[in-house]
Amino acid sequence: MNVLKSLIEDCRSGKVEYQALVDHVPYARFLGIQVVSQGDELTFVLPKNDNVVGNPTLPALHGGAVAGFMEQAAIIFILLQMGEPRVPKTIDFTIDYLRAGHFRDTYAECSVTRLGRRIANVHISAWQKNRQEPITLARAHFLLSDDNA
């Protein structure tokens, strides 16, 4: 059994924390992504950190770092829903920036609009103060099948 599959099974059965799955991805560690589970709900956290700052004077978070955080959150979210987990490949990622990202912790949650056999359609929203005031909204498609399209 490959490392990823056994990691996911251990997460599902509660043997290891979901964080282990996040830490499996080098880029997720680079950003410092954390994951918090409450029952079946997962909230992803991008802790405030000098390395994700875009403008040091404000200071404001780098939009690209927030986008990368949301993309990674969606990938983990889909992985946990797949019967035969394989790392989803991003087909496209579209993001709206609604408010400035201040230098504080950022949260993200995902909802899968449709999980097909080949394509997953996901919405991701990120907020800082409260869920009702998202700083960014994103929509992405992921390729789930194994062939190298």
Partner: protein, 175 residues
């Protein structure tokens, strides 16, 4: 959300005034883009660099690095790292159009299509062009490829940025 520190604005206003009186700016688009990059911590930490900067074309480069990998089984760079580099490149493309003035240009929206995964170990090069600049909005097209194979793009992007003029920018920074 690409924003500049206040020092950068001061630098630009002063230099822009000099440009009016001296007729030829004493600095180039490449200088401004490099200065921009220096001020953006996350882009520096990613390891991004500017290759060239002209009125309608900015080229940037992001070397492959172990900690930017998205899938440890394949070693392919994470889409998020490529996104962050391209978002920054788009901001620079706007800077090249507003040259010699410098403005804060937050991203309004950005769409990125990943056409294929870049090979493990390959640096990614991005070319960004601000093809339309209006009073308030800048429209940018972007293409990325593996270094050395510019005939085969790995990603294409389309983005809009809003222009905060220096006066307004001062208020936003407001400190």
């Amino acid at each position: 959300m690409l924003k500049q520190p206040q020092e950068c604005n001061v630098f630009t206003v002063k230099e822009a005034l000099a440009a009016v009186t001296d007729s030829a700016p004493t600095f180039t688009r490449l200088d401004i883009c490099n200065r921009f990059l220096e001020s953006v911590r996350h882009s520096k930490v990613l390891g991004m660099e500017v290759l060239s900067a002209e009125e309608y074309c900015v080229r940037t480069r992001l070397p492959w690095r172990e900690d930017l990998v998205g899938n440890p089984d394949t070693g392919v760079m994470h889409g998020g790292a490529i996104f962050a580099m391209m978002d920054q490149a788009g901001g620079m493309a706007v800077t090249c159009r507003t040259f010699p003035a410098f403005e804060i240009t937050p991203t309004i929206d950005f769409r990125l299509d990943h056409l294929r995964g870049p090979a493990k170990g390959a640096a990614v090069v991005c070319e960004a062009s601000c093809y339309r600049l209006t009073n308030h909005v800048a429209f940018v097209r972007l293409t990325s490829w593996e270094e050395g194979s510019d005939a085969e793009p790995i990603a294409t992007g389309l983005a809009t940025y809003t222009r905060l003029k220096i006066d307004n920018a001062g208020k936003v920074v407001g400190q």
